[in-house]
Every structure is written in structure tokens, then in C-alpha cells.
Amino acid sequence: MSSNTVEAPLSETAERRAVVSGAGQAPDSKWVIVTRGIKREYDMGGEVVRALRGVDLAIGRNEYVAIMGPSGSGKSTLMNIVGCLDTPNGGEYWLNGQLVSAMTDDALARVRNREIGFVFQTFNLLPRATALHNVELPLVYAGVGADERRRRASEALAKVQLDNRMDHRPNELSGGQRQRVAIARALVNNPSMLLADEPTGNLDSATSEEIMRVFENLADSGQTVVMVTHEPDIASHARRVVVLRDGLISTDETRDAFVARVGHSVAAL
């Protein structure tokens, strides 16, 4: 359970250390994500691949965190576990005070529906449904009635300035618009966190900036945002940057400290 952390000059550092070492105890409600010694291994044709080797991570309410790392660092695996799409082989994962690392598939589905707002690199919208219907989808699985669904989905689309495109299908929208629909969908059920996987990977630089601004606004208004990326430029939009290497956390620092150390050079990671 060792990690080489460069101390973030935040008063919370000590608290973080404390909360990730309290095995078996539910964390205080100010922590949205607490992982303790998360391990994930795969059996690839006889060989055991250790994607995560013991990750301790604490993310509090209203934080805006970027998780970075080169390919093979385990950041995608960590994201899948944090997003409750996968369960770890070892360790604990507490999401909003619930121990999700031991939950059944059905229970995890419920957690995903209520607590997590996914935003994907490839948007992952239903191609044959309208923008409105796409945004309604989490509410369908939450059992919300048709009228209320429509109302909440319209509101969510208004928040990303797409209420005039509600009845368009994804193929009638630009990349940036599609991603905004995805963000509206992610927010419609008031999740504990927004979990974005390379959100600007399929967008040009201008549109990327636009989407980053949306995230910033959301973070400003109190939404907890976790973004996984391999680009330092994008990571530096967040307020805290965690770098993974070889299945463990390598550095965990504020944006300023990160930018100062790394600049725009990936090699310096």
C-alpha cells in the first residue's frame, strides 16, 4: 500500500492519508470516492497481468480531478472500477459511503444509474434516438414517468445550450454538440460524479476548449468531476492531477504544481 506522493500543499492531504488507510470503515460523507488498496489482475492466456497493484485514492465533494497516465498505466482499468463497470480483485472501493467493490451486478447497475454520469470519448449515444430520448435514457432505467422524464431531460439539454436541438438525431449534430448531449445525459439523474473518459479525444482543438469550458462551469457550480486523459493539456484544465504509472499512483498534485513540473511535455510525466 505504498505510493510515492509528492505532497499537494492542501490541508486535506493528512485527511486523505487517514481516510485511505481506515480499512473496513465507511468514510465520512464529504468523500465521494475512496479506494483502499485497489488491485485488479487479468489472466491473459496463462500470464497474469497486474493492471492495478494497490491504488489508494480519495476524492472529495466538488473536486475536479484529472487522472493521467501513459497507456498501460492502468488508468482505464481504474476508471472502469471507479465507474462501477468492473469490480476489483482486492481492496475496497467506497462510493458515497457505500462499499461498492463487493456489490452484485444488479446493485452496481443501480449505482451507475444513480451516482455516475459517464461521458465517453466516442460519445456513445444511441444512433436511432433523438437527443431528447438519449438524455432521457438514465431516467428510463431509474423508473421515472414519461412526463417528468421529458421535463428533466429538456432542462438538462437547456443547461448545455442544446434545447433547440432536442429532436435531432446524433447524425444530425456536430461532434461538439454530440458531446454536449452526452454531458446532459450524464447529468440528468443528478449523479455524485461526472466521469469522463478522454472527453475531447474525438474533437478538434476549438471544440475541445468549448467542452473543457462546460466542465469548468459544472465544476464551479458544485459538480464533482473526474476526468481520465493521457493529454497533459487537457489534464491541466482540472484542479488536481493524479498520475498513474504501472498500476500505482505516481504523483498526486494541484494543477499549478503539475503544470510547473511537467509543462507540456508528456515525457516529463
Binding site: 451486478d105 444488479d106 444509474n113 444512433p127 436511432r128 432505467y141 445525459r185
Partner: protein, 414 residues
């Protein structure tokens, strides 16, 4: 995801692929079409046989005393037929003892028939069924005349050579003429036509109006049977109960006359309308088997087709399934989505089948003598079975979909 939600989703999915959906359900459609059509045909024929036909051939509440069955069920064995041939004929001397044993309200008449040569001076000769009958015959058969009159009691008594002929016989032998009072020769013996009978109609395209009737004591008697032998004694009761009484009385009398031991079976036949229906019931049995087999084949094929198409659909929509699961769909939600989709597809196919079946039955009824009437219960059965087939066919594909891993599923290219 609620049930109504799932149906709406299924409907949307089917709507955007109308042609593909139609080909998916074609097996179910055909199966249900067969079901509706066969049920309507069998139902219509049953009604026709039991109500129309039998009423035309056999008088109500009556039975015949004969030596062997008139309506033969198709699969009588050779041994059975030999036994029939060996039976003694019904004799003129059997008649009075039987008549005495009958309940007082019963009426009876005698009938003997043979195909004989008839001639008139106005047309070519023809071989036609000729029968000798006794006084109550017309009453029992409820037959009247459209021209002329019936045979009088005196004529029966005296054996006067007069005849009542069927409409077809009148038309052939006296074209455009009034047959009443004119002469017909049967086996070269002249008879006077006194009446033309009511039109009896036809059965499966065969006319029932080709007959000639003469008094039992007339010269015709020598030609229809050997001396002292009759073909049948027809006995009618007032109602079903008294008919059965009469049957038992006749049976007892004949058994006594034939000196039959209690363990020996009857060596004569007491035939009711039920015997005529036996044949139809046999045919109906085969039709019912066909009516079950054909739709079943269609539905099994339909199920296999639906299952395969749904498997393909699941494979094509793997990414969509992954997205739904990521957003919170449980296995049950995905399972229901695809089960409802395949059940909805199959139900639509069944509905089309119902429409086609009804159309086919109506068409058949219009162009052939077969009366086909659609039975409402078959519609419900067709639709119900269609939905059931859809659900069963969809189970395997739906469970494959439900068990997909969302992470892997979302990696699929579209």
C-alpha cells in the same frame, strides 16, 4: 424499464425496419394463416354436415332397419365386409312383428332400391335409382310435390303403376313438358307420372333429385329385390327418446326372430344419422390432425427464424446494449427489452396471419361448395400462440444480450 415502455421501444425498432421485420415473422404468419383457415373450414363443414346434409339424407328422429350399413365408414376391414355380406336380408315377413312391437306413436315405411333403365318417348334412356315405398314414406321424409300429387292410399293398396319422380328425372325425360299424366317405362313396363317431388338440392355437387318412387305393390317390386326381401324399414319416433325406444323394440324383435343368443351380436343394422356422421367424424379427425400439424410446422420454422434474426440483432446492437448497461440497465432490463421485441414481432406476424387466414377462408367459401366460417376462438389462439412463440424464440438471444459485459460491449465498432 416498464412493460409499456418496452413495447413502445420494440414498436419503434420494428417500425424502422419494416421489410426485415416482415421476413422475420413470415414463418409465424404462415403457421397462423393455416390455423385460422383450417379451423374455419373444419368448423364450416361440421356445421354443414351436421345441420344441412344429414337433415337432407336422413329424416329427423328416424332410424332404418337394414341388413347392412348404408353409410359405410371408410376403413371397415375385409373381415367386417365379409360378415356384412353374409348377413340375412330383411324380409317382408319381419315387418309386421317389428311394427307391432313399436310404440304406438311411431310411424314406419318400407323402402327398396335398385338402379334400373328408364325410358320416355321424349329423351334418351337413362339408368337411374328406382325405389318402391309404402304409404308413410313421404311423411317420414317430409317430402312434398311441386307438381301433381302424392301417391294415394288406394294406389298403394292396389299396386297401381304410378310414380313420383325427382326434379332432375322430370327435366331429363320430359324436357319443357308437363310430366303429370305422361308415361315412363321402367325396364320396359309403363308407369304414369302422378307427381314431381320438391327439389332436394345437392350435396358436394351431387344432385339429390335423380330418383323415381313407385308403390311397393306395383310391378316395380319384382325388379328392386328378390321376392319377399326388402332393403329397409324406416321407423320414425316423435322425438329422440321415443325413437330410441322404438330402436330397442325393433332390435328385440329381430333378435328373437333370428334366434340370437344374448352373447351374439346383431346380424342386422339399426342405422341412425349418427352412422352417417361417423364418416364425417373420421374425415374431421384427419383434418384436425392436419390442422394441428401444418400450423405447428409453420410456427416451429417461424420460431427458429425469429431466434436467428434476434441473435443477429443482438450482435449488431452489442454497443447499444453496453451503453444501456453503463447507464444503469440491469440484466433483467436488457432481457425484457429483447423478449418483448421478439414477442411483439411475432404477435404482429400472427395478426397478419389472422387477416390472411380470414381472407383465405372467405375466398374458399366463395369459390367452392365448402362453407368456411371463421371461428372467433381461433383468432385469439392464433395471436396468443404467436406471442408465445415469439417469447420462446427470443429467450436465447435475449439472455445472450443480458449477459454481455458492458466494457467489452462498448468497444464494439458500429
Amino acid at each position: 424499464m416498464s412493460f409499456i415502455q418496452a413495447i413502445r421501444l420494440a414498436w419503434e425498432t420494428i417500425r424502422v425496419q419494416k421489410l426485415k421485420s416482415f421476413f422475420t415473422v413470415i414463418g409465424v404468419t404462415i403457421g397462423v394463416t393455416f390455423l385460422i383457415a383450417v379451423v374455419s373450414i373444419v368448423g364450416g363443414m361440421s356445421r354443414y354436415m351436421e345441420d344441412d346434409l344429414v337433415g337432407k339424407l336422413i329424416a329427423v328422429n328416424s332410424f332404418s332397419l337394414r341388413s347392412r350399413p348404408d353409410f359405410q365408414v371408410g376403413d371397415a376391414t375385409q373381415a367386417q365386409r365379409n360378415e356384412w355380406r353374409r348377413r340375412p336380408r330383411i324380409l317382408r315377413t319381419d315387418v309386421d312383428p317389428v311394427a307391432e312391437a313399436l310404440p304406438p306413436t311411431a310411424t314406419w315405411a318400407l323402402e327398396s332400391s335398385q338402379n334400373l333403365d328408364i325410358e320416355s318417348q321424349y329423351a334418351t334412356p337413362r339408368n337411374t335409382q328406382c325405389s318402391t315405398i309404402t304409404e308413410q314414406w313421404f311423411t317420414i321424409k317430409k317430402m312434398g310435390v311441386t307438381q301433381g300429387r302424392l301417391i294415394t292410399p288406394q294406389e298403394y293398396n292396389n299396386g297401381t303403376p304410378v310414380v313420383v319422380i325427382g326434379q332432375d328425372v322430370a327435366d331429363h325425360f320430359f324436357p319443357n313438358l308437363n310430366p303429370i299424366g305422361r308415361e315412363l317405362k321402367v325396364q320396359s313396363i309403363p308407369y304414369t307420372v302422378v307427381g314431381v317431388a320438391d327439389k332436394q338440392g345437392s350435396v358436394f355437387g351431387q344432385s339429390l333429385d335423380k330418383f323415381l318412387l313407385a308403390p311397393e305393390r306395383s310391378p316395380l317390386n319384382r325388379w328392386v329385390n328378390p321376392h319377399g326381401v326388402i332393403d329397409a324399414m324406416i321407423i320414425q319416433g316423435q322425438d329422440d327418446t321415443s325413437m330410441r325406444e322404438a330402436m330397442e323394440a325393433a332390435r328385440a324383435t329381430m333378435r328373437a326372430r333370428r334366434h340370437l343368443h344374448p352373447t351374439q351380436p346383431d346380424n342386422f343394422e339399426l342405422e341412425t344419422s349418427e352412422n352417417a356422421l361417423d364418416f364425417w367424424n373420421k374425415v374431421k379427425g384427419y383434418l384436425v390432425i392436419a390442422g394441428i400439424a401444418l400450423p405447428t410446422v409453420g410456427l416451429v420454422v417461424g420460431a427458429i427464424v425469429i431466434m436467428n434474426i434476434m441473435l443477429v440483432a443482438v450482435a449488431e446492437r452489442t454497443r447499444e446494449i453496453g451503453i444501456r448497461k453503463a447507464l444503469g440497465a440491469r440484466r433483467k432490463d436488457i432481457l425484457n427489452q429483447f423478449l418483448v421485441e421478439s414477442a411483439t414481432l411475432a404477435t404482429l406476424g400472427a395478426a397478419i396471419g389472422v387477416a390472411l387466414g380470414i381472407g383465405f377462408a372467405k375466398f374458399l367459401a366463395a369459390v367452392s361448395p365448402l362453407p368456411a366460417a371463421v371461428e372467433v376462438w381461433s383468432i385469439f389462439l392464433g395471436v396468443g400462440v404467436g406471442a408465445g412463440v415469439g417469447m420462446i424464440a427470443g429467450i436465447y438471444p435475449a439472455s445472450r444480450a443480458a449477459l454481455l459485459d458492458p466494457i467489452a460491449a462498448m468497444r464494439q465498432e458500429t
